[in-house]
Every structure is written in C-alpha cells, then in structure tokens.
C-alpha cells in the first residue's frame, strides 16, 4: 500500500523500503533509536486507549506530555545533592503529577458542565504549548516581557531550560554511546500496570462499564462522574510520564520544540492496538520503526520523510475500517479475473 503510494510519486519503493528498514534496524545505533522512540509512543498510546475505554476521546496527550516535561524539568534542575534514588523518582512523579492535573481538567469540565472533551483537550493543548513556551522563554529586548522562570540565563537569547542535574537523569542501559535509557522499561511496566488495572481490578471494570454502557453503569450504582475524572487523570498521568521520560532520559533539558511528534500519532497507536496494552506496545514499535527509518529513507531514496505520516494514517484507516480492506481486495480480485478472462474472449 505504501509502496503503491511511493511508486505513484515516482520514487523507487524498494529503495525506500530498504532505507526504512536500514534506518530503523540497520546498525546497533539505528536499533537503539527505534527503541528510544518506542517509549513515548507506548505511553501516549496507553493514555489515549485508557481514556477510550472509559468512553472518552483524549486528543490532549500532546498537552499533557508537555506539562509532564515541564514538571519533570522543574524538579530536575533544582535540589542539588539529592541521591539518585530519591531525586529521579521525585522528578518522574512531578511529570506524572502535572500531566495528571492537566488531564483532570477536561475530565472535570466534562462531568461538571458537559463540555465535550474533544474540544477542551485540543484547546488545552494550545494553552499547554504556550505555557511551556513561557516557562523557558528567554525574554525579549523588544518588549518589557521578563524571561520565564525555568529559562537558563547562560543560554543567551535561546529559549531553553538549564540541564537537568545528573541525579535526576534516567541512566543509560548500555552505556552513553547507544543512547538507550531505562525509560523503555518504565513504559513496558506502565503497559503491564494498565493491563492489570483494566482486567484485574474493580475500578478497571467500572471504568470499562462506564465507557461501554453508561446507563447500565448508572443503574448499577457506579459513580460515572468520578470514573470519568479518574480516567482522564490517569490518561494525563501516562502522557505526563512520557514527557518526563523524554526530558529526563533523552534531552536532559526542556525546550519548546521537544513536544513535537506525540500529537495525533498517539490516537493512531491506541486504535491500532485495539485498546489492549500488548497491542499498543506492538503498534508503538511499528510507529517507532517507521519514524526512525524515515530520515534514512529520505536520504537513500529521496522520498520525503513526512510521507511516513501519510502511511501511518493509511494503516490507521485500514485497521479501523475493515470493510474498506475487504472491498478493495474484492475489487482487485475482480479486475484480475476480468484481465484473465479477456484474452480468452479475444481468442
């Protein structure tokens, strides 16, 4: 499917494909990139999926991710002299906490006023992006606006936070050269935790019931409103953890442009994983492969790397509309049959 798309655009699909594979798994370094990109995808995918189980469409993962990054950096750049075993969990908790709080707002708004979460989460994404930008804003000589509270004065005119202290960084798994960090373990742990919550606990059952059959849940005496807020809070926490892991594990500082890449992909991943944690991990891996391989593909075959986004969307469309795939296959086989029959007719 993707190959057809590229062939139509006049590129060699095979070259692009080998570039894609080589870029995501060709060398140990490329493989490491793929692994590194997997963890935020897993966590934000889980975030969307968890909210979806409760009947909520969380488009706000990007904003919750940013708030988590800011929270984690805020703790990570201060408290010098703390031991790692205390400082790192504290910074991660700050990320989870601020992401949760940001997620809780649309949940609470939905329950108390009926405001649709699709609109509120998107609007809060923009607010979060502006807020995060302000925290590290370098100030401006043109106006009297003062620099943001997390800005690094030694960075001059660049809007960036100071480096996170060594005691708050997520350690590398196989030394610093490969740049894989333990965040992937945290992400897998979170997937396990979500699975356990949804399948093995009472609150998970309530959450799914509220999502699937709200009226039945109400008759059964479940607290629908509270469950909604809780689901959005957890969803925010997961996305916040993703932001914390990216800042504490990869960048070691925060700049406004680090939020990119977790917007609508998280929705696609959650849907592709059919809402199940294991499925989400696999879908996240697929998206990480595509993402990591994209730049190599562009370099090798000249196919613009943005096309990956189109391919991801096509995957999403075919996964969520099975009738479309069946229809296409029928069409193809019918044309083939017609083509096979044609020479016979002529003879």
């Amino acid at each position: 499917m993707g190959a057809v798309l590229m062939a139509v655009l006049g590129h060699n699909p095979w070259e692009a494909f080998t570039g894609l594979v080589a870029g995501s798994a060709g060398t140990a370094h490329d493989l490491a990139t793929t692994v590194r990109k997997t963890s935020p995808f897993v966590l934000t995918g889980l975030s969307v999926a968890l909210a979806m189980k409760a009947g909520l469409f969380n488009i706000g993962a990007a904003g919750q991710f940013l708030m988590g990054s800011v929270g984690a950096v805020w703790v990570g750049i201060q408290f010098e002299g703390l031991p790692v075993w205390f400082h790192l969990p504290l910074a991660l908790a700050a990320g989870i906490g601020s992401g949760s709080a940001w997620g809780a707002i649309p949940g609470w708004l939905k329950v108390s006023t009926g405001a649709h979460e699709v609109i509120t989460t998107v609007m809060l994404n923009y607010v979060a992006a502006l807020f995060a930008g302000w925290t590290v804003f370098a100030g401006s000589t043109l106006s009297t606006t003062r620099p943001g509270p997390l800005w690094d004065p030694t960075a001059g005119p660049v809007s960036v936070s100071p480096d996170v202290l060594a005691s708050a960084r997520i350690p590398w798994i196989l030394g610093p050269s490969l740049r894989i960090h333990w965040g992937i373990a945290l992400a897998l742990l979170a997937a396990l935790l979500v699975w356990w919550l949804m399948e093995r606990t009472r609150i998970g059952f309530e959450l799914k019931t509220v999502g699937a059959k709200p009226l039945a849940a109400r008759y059964a005496g479940m607290r629908c409103g509270w469950t909604t807020v809780l689901a959005m809070t957890w969803a925010g926490g997961l996305a916040g953890l993703a932001g914390a892991i990216e800042t504490l594990g990869v960048h070691h500082k925060f700049a406004p442009e680090f939020g990119g890449g977790v917007g609508f992909e998280s929705i696609a991943i959650a849907l592709l994983g059919q809402g199940y944690p294991l499925g989400i991990v696999l879908a996240a891996l697929l998206f990480a492969v595509l993402d990591a391989g994209a730049s190599k593909m562009q370099f090798d075959s000249g196919v613009p790397s943005d096309i990956i986004q189109v391919i991801q969307t096509l995957i999403l469309i075919f996964a969520t509309a099975p009738a479309l795939a069946t229809w296409l296959l029928n069409r193809v086989s019918r044309t083939q049959r017609a083509a096979a029959a044609a020479p016979g007719l002529r003879a």
Binding site: T113, T145, T313, A321
Partner: protein
C-alpha cells in the same frame, strides 16, 4: 428546541449590536481617545474580529450540515487544512496567470478538495463502518501528512483577494467599512449563514435533513433517502469547511504555512455546539471567538507590560473552553448524532 434556538439567535444579535454600539461610541463620543476603549471597540479590533470569525463561520456551517444529518464531524480541522493547502497549490501553480483567474481557480480547488474530504468522511462512516470520531481524526491526520509531504517552503504564492466595496452601503459611517468593504469570501460566509439558516428551517431539504438527524428510521419510513441525503450534506459541509481554510490562504494571509489552521477547526466545532447546531447561533459564537482573537491581537500590539505574550495568546483558547463549559443543559444535539443508521435488512 425553539426556545433554545431563539436564545442563541438573540445572543448573536446582542453581541453584534453591543460591538457596533461600541464602535459608534469610539467614533463619535468625546471620551473615545481613552486607549482601553479604543482597543476594545475601535475599528481595527472589530475588523480583525470579523476577519478571524470568517473561517470559523464557514467551518461551523460545514459542521452543522454534517451534524444536523446525524454525522459527528471532528474533522473540520482536517477539511480546512486540505482546503487551505489546495488553494495554495492551485494559486501557486498559476502564479504567472492574471490574478483574477488564478484566485478563481484557487477558490474552485479549495471547494472541490473540501467536498472530497466531506465525501471521504461520509464514505468512511457510512459505507465502510468506521467510527465517526475516528474517521474525523483520520481526516485530520491525512491532510496533515499530505500537506507536510508536498509543501515546499520555498514557493511563494503571489497576491490575494482584494476588498470589493459594495456601492452606496460602503459609504455609511462605521458600518460601511466594517461590513461592506470586504473581500468576497467574507460576503460569501455571511450570506451562507442566511442561506443555510433559511434552508434548514423553511425548505423541504431542510426538513428532511433535520428529520434524518433526529430520527433516521422515521424519516426512512416516510420515504426520505437517508443515506443519500447524508452523503450530500456531508459533501456540501466539507466544501464549506474547505472554503474556510481556503479563505486563510486566498484572502487573509496570502500564503500557506504548516500548522496555519492552528485549532480553528476545533474552535469552529465549539461554535457549532455553542450555537446549538443553528447557523445564526454559530455566527454569534464565531463572532465571539473571533473577537477574542482580535482582543488578543490588540493586546499583543499594545505590548501590555503586565502580561507575558504567551499568556495573552492563550485568550482565544481559554475563551473557547469557557464558552463550551458554560453551557450546561442549554444546548441539545441532534437526536441521532453519532449513531450510524442501519436499515433492519442490512443490520
């Protein structure tokens, strides 16, 4: 329903009158030079408010056509983006033409592309059984991916639509320059509100559209071709939403940038809800949101020293959240919104 519709129309009329009264005050009253008043009611800010409202009006009308037929449309953002990009591509390819035909071609491209997006939404939802919210999200992803892949930052479109002053009317004080000295798409948007509002309420098409949105089975029993009308309305709605995006390229900015829709599709969706799925109500909501953007703009220009610009830029988004949240129990969605209609023989 009638009572609610009246109240939203009254809100729209009230807001417009308030702003106009303010504009007259600024023009004629002795205290007009007080800066905050000029900032809130001056000709600049009102002009900008209408400018910012036009894409919201068109997007909201597109959403209304779709949702009154019973199909949820969170993909307005994607339709607008597609429309904007199509306008840019067409305009750019014909840069060497005379300005008029080139702009006309851009307008046609934006309408056709929007209609195609609407048709795609209908196909996904009605033919291929995709969830309506997921279909909307994939429209957004698709147009983001396609525009990012093909957008060449070095290309520059030349020229944009100029104002067409209405004879006589444009000479009126205050009202003339505000309403009758505008480029054509602005007139189209305002006319479209009247046309769609009248048609929904007073024509056979409108009655049937409302019927399939409220109770498709009853409409089907009465002999209305439910699916055909849903296809038609979603396609028309897509064309309107696409024009909302095209407006940004052809009339407001003159260029295309990635991310230029900046949540306007979702704000338009908020205007649909705030306006209680009624064109006049949506007009009022769009004016309110456009006005919020205009005030934000004025505050930025004035470089208000008491607020960092990041917080000023939050105003439009926060106003949208407050508006959607402040409506508990006061709006009512079409009865069958979001439930795909299956005839019993097909189910």
């Amino acid at each position: 329903m009638a009572v609610v519709t009246q109240s939203t129309a009254r809100f729209a009329a009230g807001l417009s009158l308030l702003l106009l009264a303010g504009a007259f005050l600024v023009e004629y009253a002795p205290f007009a030079d007080i800066q905050p008043i000029r900032m809130l009611f001056g000709e600049n800010v009102l002009n900008f408010a209408l400018r910012a409202a036009v894409p919201l009006i068109l997007g909201a009308l597109g959403g209304i056509l779709c949702e009154r037929s019973g199909i949820v449309n969170i993909g307005i953002e994607g339709m607008m983006l597609a429309g904007a990009f199509a306008a840019f591509v067409a305009k750019n390819a014909t840069n060497h033409w005379a300005l008029g035909p080139s702009l006309l071609l851009g307008t046609c491209a934006t309408l056709l592309t929007g209609a195609a997006m609407g048709l795609l939404h209908a196909l996904f939802c009605l033919r291929f059984g995709m969830d309506q919210i997921i279909s909307g999200a994939s429209l957004i992803l698709l147009s983001m991916g396609i525009s990012a892949t093909f957008f060449d930052e070095n290309t520059v479109a030349v020229g944009k639509l100029a104002p067409w002053p209405v004879p006589l009317l444009s000479a009126w004080p205050v009202i003339g320059p505000l309403l009758f000295h505008k480029p054509p798409i602005t007139y189209v948007a305002l006319l479209a509100v009247a046309v769609v509002g009248f048609a929904l309420a007073h024509t056979r098409w409108g009655l049937r559209t409302r019927a399939i949105g409220e109770h498709p089975r009853a409409a089907d029993t009465a002999g209305v071709a439910v699916l055909r009308l849903q296809y038609l309305n979603t396609t028309l709605g897509g064309a309107l939403a696409g024009l909302g995006g095209g407006y940004l390229v052809l009339e407001a900015v003159g260029q295309f940038q990635e991310g230029m829709i900046a949540g306007r599709g979702f704000i338009a969706l908020a205007a649909v809800i705030f306006g209680n799925w009624h064109p006049v109500g949506a007009l009022g909501a769009s004016l309110l949101f456009g006005y919020a953007q205009a005030v934000h703009n004025e505050l930025l220009l004035a470089q208000a020293p008491f607020l960092p610009r990041h917080f000023v830029s939050m105003i439009p988004y926060v106003v949208t959240v407050i508006a959607v949240a402040g409506l508990a129990g006061r709006v009512r969605a079409p009865g069958s919104l979001g439930q795909p209609y299956l005839r019993e023989t097909e189910a």
